[in-house]
Amino acid sequence: MTTVKSLNPRILRKQFPMLARAGRHCAYLDSAASSQTPETVIRAMDAYYREFRANVHRGMYPASERATAAYEHARERVAEFLNADPKGIIFTRGATEALNLAAALAAQQLKPGDEVVTTVLEHHSNMVPWQQFAKRLGLKLKYVGLTPEQALDFNAAAQLITAKTKVVAAMHVSNALGTVLPIRRLSELAHRRGATFIVDAAQSAGHRPVDVQELGCDYLAVAGHKMFGPTGVGVLYGRPELLQAAEPISFGGDMISEVSFEGATWNELPWKFEAGTPNVAGVIGLGAAVDFIGRLGLKNIQAHEAKLAAYAQKRLLAIPKVRVYGPPPGVERAGVVSFRIGDIHPHDLTTVLAGQGICVRGGHHCAMPLMRYLKISGTTRASLSIYNDERDIDALVAAVERAARLFRL
């Protein structure tokens, strides 16, 4: 696939209908919550509904055959995107379902007293499932904290991950702070102790290269709607040997091989874990999103977001009474900039910003324990994508300064 040389947000914005329509009246800085959907993805899903709207894996007629081919082609595209075996690619409703499924599958091997290590940075969807399994199975759950610079405390991780540790679950990129975690090193730690390693790649897939071989993960979760795909579709990658040994947790159509009144046998991988009619259009859309990303080039996307994040951090820090969370200037940061100004509550700030056409998120970002750990009620978060440029950041900064005046800071 040919990749573009560099990204031009002004031209790219035209491919995203909501942004094209809003023009400069909308600075969409909430892509960590959900990215915009490009025309190519919308068209791919539209074609399914208009041209070959049939179920997959069933019909013998052309429309169904085409739907099946498109669905399975998307699986291959996603597998290639993650450098994974297609047998390990399970389509889910989203990253949340993928992480819940990963936890449920990994938990099949656990017994009372086993330890699970995760981090204080985690999104609720990679933390609450483990709290629940810990309660049900009598596991011990441990959290790796942060250094004073708000990076993951790797030394603490090295101490917490012991021979008793059976699962290590960590996010690749923090949705709340923009911190990038040392996934490869954590993977080595986990595997040296014989633990299963689960990665939440919801904020990294589509923003930087995510290679399951190189990262060394046993399970990895992806959110389709955060990487230009539609809502309602995600991916769980599972190492095929693990998936082979695991029992399915959802039963019904498609996942079975043979059913009698007495019992059933399971379908092959990956269908064993895809019960029922899947989100066909969503998966096809996700395949188109992967192609879209391929044309732009992940390295280009990563560089663009990093440059813009550094610019946003610098501009925000220049405003009196602003505090930016996460990596300090000069340390690697994903396209997420979380901040507070004075004593203004994030929800008040985001309300004022919304009035200025700035779309950002304020609050705990589904990481309440992290906010408590940082001793704050929440932050206001600007998150970036390929369609953002310095003008969006300038508009954000002007609106924050305006809020500061409004609140007489």
């Binding site: 509550h345 994030p346 929800h347 008040d348 309300t351 009035g355 705990h364 009620s377 409004l406 609140f407």
Partner: protein, 145 residues
């Protein structure tokens, strides 16, 4: 609610900013009836975890069931604190049943600005505490069967 823009590009005051007028900010920075009552007729704690807002309301009723005194304590955003501050001023002297019947429309009137769907929980936090506290008090008061 898109901002009105002057030709020069400077935005005029937007609808959302009406919430943060001088008077409202004053209620936020200096909330009226802020504090606790040592012997309330009832009290109720209410939190909005998604915001980190956290209020406790203390109410003393007189013999006729009117709000004689009301105080509140806690932390929150400007909207939740100002709304509660304004509410406490409004309901002193009201029958508690009547006070508990107030709703979002009344809070919007007190704030004097439209409140979007995303913020209505903030605006209603104090009122919700009052309503739930009053309901619990009603149950407590009712003769057991």
């Amino acid at each position: 609610m898109s901002p009105t823009r002057r030709r020069g590009g400077t935005p005029l005051t937007t609808d959302t900013e009406l919430i943060y007028r001088e008077n409202i900010l004053d209620h936020y920075r200096h909330p009226r009836n802020f504090g606790r009552l040592s012997q309330p007729t009832f009290s109720r704690h209410e939190a909005n975890w998604s915001c980190g807002d956290d209020l406790e309301v203390f109410v003393r009723l007189d013999r006729a069931g009117r709000v004689a005194e009301i105080k509140f304590d806690g932390r929150g955003c400007a909207l939740s604190l100002a709304a509660m501050s304004l509410l406490t001023e409004k309901i002193v002297g009201l029958k508690v049943e009547k006070a508990a019947k107030l709703g979002l429309a009344d809070i919007v009137k007190l704030i004097g600005a439209p409140i979007g769907a995303g913020r209505s929980r903030c605006a209603l936090l104090g009122l919700t505490a009052l309503q739930r506290g009053a309901a619990e008090n009603q149950i407590k008061k009712a003769p057991s069967s």
